[in-house]
Amino acid sequence: MKIQTKSDLLLKFTIYSGTICAFSVIFSILILLVFLGIPFFKQSGFSFFFDTWNPLQGKYGILPMIYTTFLIALPSVFTAFFLSLGFACFAASTGHRFLKKPAIALIRTASSIPTVVYAFIGVFLIIPFIRNIGPSGSGYSILSASLMLALLISPTMIFFFYDSIIESETSLVKGGLALGATRTETLLYLVIPNAKNGIYAGVFLGMGRAIGDTMISLMLAGNSISYPLSPFESGRTLTAHIGLVMASDYDSPEFGSIFACGILLYLITAVLSIVSKIIYKKTGA
């Protein structure tokens, strides 16, 4: 007795093929990267992941890029965390009531600005500034990239913090105010501890974005393969490495290293997404 029209069949087809297509891609990304990387990994084993970069000695390890990636991402998440927490508290609670709405509108605008435009502004505003205050060098440095990256990931984190603060505030503020606490006191002692999980999740999300971002580190960090020690030195991240090496000879071991970078980035961000999801779920429960 089952009668199905053409549009019903088309809908079912779209739903199932869309789902299959989406989920096959998630795994085929990893599989394809490994598959194309195998010829290179065969030559040098897993030294790609643990070795340093020294083409003269035939070493094409991505250790310097891993180092630089975290050296740029961690300080930027650290800066963005305080900036975002303060901003979110301002917009959600402590701020002057005439400034709250413009603050949110500003964040909406900020989140709509393309990454490449952030990086472009950085090239012409941050770089000369760092060049002037730094001891030496061109200004293309991990400090420039870190600062700009903090600015880029802030809107994401602010929205996350703002939402979880608002959510726990509505349930807590009345109780707090009834006990005679001021609004700021309630925020500091009740709301923020309660919104803790949302805040952690936001940090992990921001971390994922900071590690995965390409354009800012590519355009601002200077891209020299090294272990920068001072914030004014330049470095190359995993993402920038992929962007830069793709133009080289397709059979060179140098080319193989970008697959190592891709696999590593895939795994790092997958772990971060899952962790952030688990933490966020706990808030709901």
Partner: protein, 232 residues
């Protein structure tokens, strides 16, 4: 006799909701079901049209037979065509829920379904008009049939929901607290139209207002301790 329920058990996620229900529901009468909230009134209704199948973890045991299309039908029989059963046993919910389309299209919705059996009808336009007249809505909406149904008031939307169930020619019409979200005036209108409708179909209404039950019902069944006790 319209419906015979024998030894009906209903389990949801391993908790008993209904136990050992034996009931007979008379044809062309209004049967009211009452009980405290959570007693399982609505559950009884969704057994009658097999809507429980849409909920994961629902299990039934026992038997329900309804007299539909001049023959007794075992409702839990897998070979019963589900869309047909659901059109013959209409259900209207507590809150009015018009579809996101015009008033006219809302009413024509059952005709658009190709998986359901074809509803006999000579002329769609006269069908719409006569159904709207049955629920006393025609005079109020005749000039704006093409307008979105959400533009109607709450009471009008609820009458539209009843009309939408009626247009599929049900033999049994079930209503789950149809007036509890409405103002007293709309409530009165719906009660009047239910009394008129009982010549056409058997009506089962869930309600927790005893006044309402007294006003309109011919029979009253109370659900208590997970089972049903007829009162009159």
């Amino acid at each position: 006799m319209k419906i015979k329920i024998n030894n009906l058990y209903f389990k949801y996620k391993n908790t008993d909701v209904l136990k050992n229900i034996n009931l007979e529901i008379k044809q062309n009468k209004i049967t009211a079901i009452s009980g405290v909230s959570g007693a399982g009134k609505s559950t009884l209704l969704i057994c009658l049209n097999r809507l429980y199948e849409e909920f994961e973890g629902a299990k039934v045991k026992g038997s329900i037979n309804s007299f539909l299309d001049n023959k007794w039908v075992d409702i839990f029989d897998r070979s019963v065509h589900l869309p047909w059963l659901r059109q013959k046993t209409g259900l209207v919910f507590q809150n009015p829920n018009p579809f996101p389309m015009s008033i006219e299209k809302n009413l024509l919705f059952p005709f658009r379904l190709l998986s359901a059996p074809k509803i006999e009808s000579k002329n769609l336009e006269t069908e719409i008009i006569s159904t709207l007249k049955k629920v006393h809505l025609y005079e109020e909406v005749k000039k704006r049939l093409k307008m979105p149904a959400s533009s109607l008031s709450g009471g009008q939307q609820q009458r539209l929901s009843i009309a939408r169930a009626l247009i599929a020619k049900p033999e049994i019409l079930m209503l789950d607290e149809p007036t509890s979200s409405l103002d007293p005036e709309s409530e009165k209108k719906i009660e009047t139209l239910l009394k008129e409708l009982k010549n056409e179909c058997t009506i089962i209404i869930v309600s927790h207002s005893l006044d309402q039950i007294k006003r309109i019902s011919d029979h009253h069944i109370k659900i208590e301790n997970k089972t049903a006790c007829p009162i009159y």
